[in-house]
């Protein structure tokens, strides 16, 4: 699956590990919440970066105390219409200060990419045959936004303030 990270296509060094699969030696893995809860000790002491995958009914609140162990959190969109992960992403970034990779997985669609990015996702797993160039362009669909949210784009209100100050 093509992976976009920080605005460009990159190779994916991570292995998404099924709950039944054995832990490999030398690859960083992304595990489910259940596996994390059962194998915390092993996963923490493995000497490898660790990723966590949360379903849309698993609030990151549940792992608020464990965030220091994860370099990556993958939030799942089971259907693109299930928008819970937008809130989760903002909470992870803004409330819990999570600064690792925040990856959108599942039913990720081109026309939602920009919303995801604004909420703090910096990585996106694309469908197999997605035209990556067109998807990257979708990140440029809008140049103005009203809301101050997780990304660094200045909202319209502060642009207006700048204009007013400049005019004075």
């Amino acid at each position: 699956m093509p992976l976009i990270k920080n605005g460009q296509q990159v190779a994916d060094p991570w292995l998404a590990l099924g709950d039944e699969e054995t832990l490999p030696e030398d690859v960083p893995v992304i595990v489910s919440l259940e596996r994390w809860q059962q194998e915390k000790d092993v996963l923490q002491t493995r000497g490898m970066e660790l990723g966590l995958r949360l379903r849309s009914d698993q609030s990151p609140q549940q792992v608020a105390e464990d965030l220091q162990f994860f370099s990556l959190i993958a939030l799942e969109f089971p259907k693109f219409t299930d928008g819970r992960a937008y809130s989760y992403a903002r909470l992870l970034r803004e409330r819990h200060g999570f600064s690792g990779e925040l990856r959108a997985v599942g039913n990720v669609l081109r026309d939602q990419l920009l919303f995801m990015q604004r909420c703090g996702f910096d990585a996106f797993e694309l469908p197999e045959n997605a035209p990556v160039e067109a998807w990257l362009r979708a990140l440029e669909d809008f140049s103005v936004w009203y809301q101050p949210v997780t990304d660094n784009r200045a909202p319209v209100s502060s642009l207006r303030r700048r204009l007013r100050v400049a005019a004075q």
């Binding site: 937008y86 669909d141 009203y146 809301q147 303030r161």
Partner: protein, 551 residues
């Protein structure tokens, strides 16, 4: 009224470009209908029984003459020459072609109009009291807050895929003309002991198949916290609202299942984190937006010009219109003019392109170029000098827009029903037309007094039947159209849901049933008592008896 600055303009243009690209991808097969559906819905484009339906946002119901002319242009150029005012103060076109959608949006953008978030599971176009800024009973002008909500909710990245659609209504007046408690969030302006403006916050109202009257979760929210509190409420809902069953996904179900107090606590907990953060509205920002809504350059006028009395005594038609359609204004010498879109035998809420042009012209000459749409599917000229009322009346009359029935029995709310809608059980427009013809006599209507009939062609309740003084719901009985009657609903200050009166009536019987209900009321009412007051005093029994006596 609000005018776009370069940023608003850029956003709407970029939206048009984005949607044009999406339509192109649909037309060349890159997107299938399933993938295209959520995209078109975010832009107000529904697939209906016979054609697409396009819903254009009229933010908090306020339009300029230029904008109304643009809507007339769209009706003429891309549709069949008319449009329809909806219960959410929007305008709907029933016959556009998909291929034309980008051109329509682009033409609309020329007049600062758009269709953003007029459908889909996102924060919909915010509605407001149609008399905002001019009502004699106003506590504070709510319009700049509406505009602030419009901006905040537009393409909100966190809240564009909510469990279900989300509707916010605002009023600054004592009398609730915005049906606050039938909305997901209702905001009523208040002042604290020091006179500072703020809001009473109500949540969890809604109609549809599970009608619920909204409850207050905060008595007073200071104005600067408006957005942080809204964001907190939406965030709680976005995470906890049900997503497994579309019929249980509205915020009302969440509020009901956890209870009002628990829900309020969750919002307050989230708000404790967000308040005083970057969503706090600086006074400067509030003032900047409020300046767009500064009063127009009113003249200093006598409040009761002698001409008015003369016209009323010499023209009974004018006098009747003055009584029913003209409301009190906060500025001396000015009046609020309601334009009824419910002519005898007409389709409630429909307006032709020519009529739109007439209204736009009258607004330009006599109402500082401003028009409002109402949730009862009429229009309003908000700033008319009393001295101009005769000219306005005559202008409206020539265009068939002077029916003197605002608030009376023929001023019905009615959904499109089976004539347009693919979810309908029954037609509703012909029933409205029949009722309107049966009660065509305006002096009889005046005798009956204030009476709101609201009608939906199916359980989705687009026509607000639950909160009609008389509600009519279309039901299907073995393939036949039947109409179930509810009595005693109201979306005014004391919001109540109507009660089903008994077995449904066939299409042939429903007109007689309406007459029976009205006659019963006329017989049993006490001096000066409205239909709703009588109903609240006597209950269903007398109506049941007369309605089902013959059966």
């Amino acid at each position: 009224m609000y005018r776009y600055d370069e940023f608003d303009e850029a956003l709407v243009r970029e939206r048009v470009a984005q949607f044009s690209d999406q339509v192109q991808r649909r037309l060349n097969g890159e997107l299938n209908e399933d993938e295209f559906k959520p995209l078109r819905l975010m832009n107000g484009l529904y697939l209906q029984l016979h054609a697409y339906m396009f819903r254009i946002a009229i933010p908090y119901g306020t339009l300029s003459s230029v904008q109304l002319r643009k809507l007339a242009h769209v009706a003429r150029t891309y549709d069949k020459g008319y449009g329809h005012i909806t219960t959410r103060q929007n305008m709907q076109f029933n016959w556009p072609r998909l291929e034309d959608a980008p051109a329509i949006l682009s033409d609309l953008a020329d007049a600062q109009l758009h269709a953003i978030q007029t459908s889909g599971n996102c924060i919909r176009n915010t509605t407001a009291d149609q008399y905002a800024g001019v009502a004699a009973d106003e506590i504070a002008d709510p319009r700049h807050y509406c505009e602030i909500i419009r901006q905040w909710s537009t393409l909100h990245p966190e809240f564009s895929f909510l469990p279900r659609k989300f509707k916010i209504a605002v009023t600054g007046a004592e009398e609730d003309r915005a049906a606050l408690r039938t909305h997901d969030i209702g905001l009523r302006m208040r002042r604290d002991a020091d006179g500072n403006p703020g809001f009473e916050v109500m949540v969890g109202g809604g109609l549809g198949r599970t009608p619920v009257v909204g409850v207050t979760i905060r008595e007073f929210l200071p104005e600067e916290h408006l957005l942080s509190y809204l964001e907190s409420t939406l965030r709680v809902y976005n995470q906890l609202g049900r997503r497994d069953n579309i019929h249980k996904a509205r915020i009302k179900i969440l509020v009901q299942s956890v209870g009002r107090d628990a829900f309020a606590r969750m919002v307050e907990e989230e708000w404790a984190q967000l308040r005083d953060g970057y969503l706090t509205l600086p006074q400067e920002e509030l003032d900047t937006i409020a300046r767009y809504f500064a009063p127009p350059p009113y003249e200093t006028l006598e409040d009761s010009p002698p001409e008015l009395e003369l016209w009323q005594s010499t023209s009974p038609g004018f006098a009747a219109w003055m009584n029913e359609n003209v409301a009190a204004h906060k500025q001396a010498g000015y009046a609020i003019v309601n334009i009824s879109l419910k002519p005898e035998g007409g389709v409630p809420g429909d307006i032709t392109a020519e009529q739109m042009d007439v209204v736009a012209d009258l607004a330009e000459r006599y109402s500082f170029s401003e028009i409002r749409a109402t949730h009862e599917q009429n229009l309003v000229l908000p700033y008319v000098r009393k001295l101009d009322l005769m000219a306005v009346w005559q202008g409206l009359q020539q265009a068939g827009l002077a029916t003197a029935n605002i608030g009376l029995i023929s001023d019905m709310i009615c959904c499109p029903g089976l004539d347009y809608c693919n979810l309908a059980n029954t037609r509703s427009i012909p029933v409205a037309q029949e009722i309107s013809e049966r009660f065509a006599d305006l002096s009889k209507q005046r005798d009956i007094g204030p009476l709101k009939i609201k009608m939906s062609g199916c359980i989705n309740a687009c026509g607000h039947h639950h909160v009609g003084h008389i509600g009519i719901l279309g039901v299907d009985k073995k393939g036949q159209e039947y109409y179930q009657i509810t009595l005693g609903g109201s979306a005014e200050n004391e919001t109540t849901l109507g009660n089903i009166v008994g077995p449904a009536f066939s299409a042939a019987e429903i007109g007689d049933a309406m007459e029976t209900i009205v006659d019963t009321y006329l017989t049993i009412r006490e001096e000066g008592e409205s239909f709703l007051e009588t109903y609240r005093r006597v209950g269903q029994q007398p109506f049941k008896e007369t309605l089902y006596a013959a059966h």
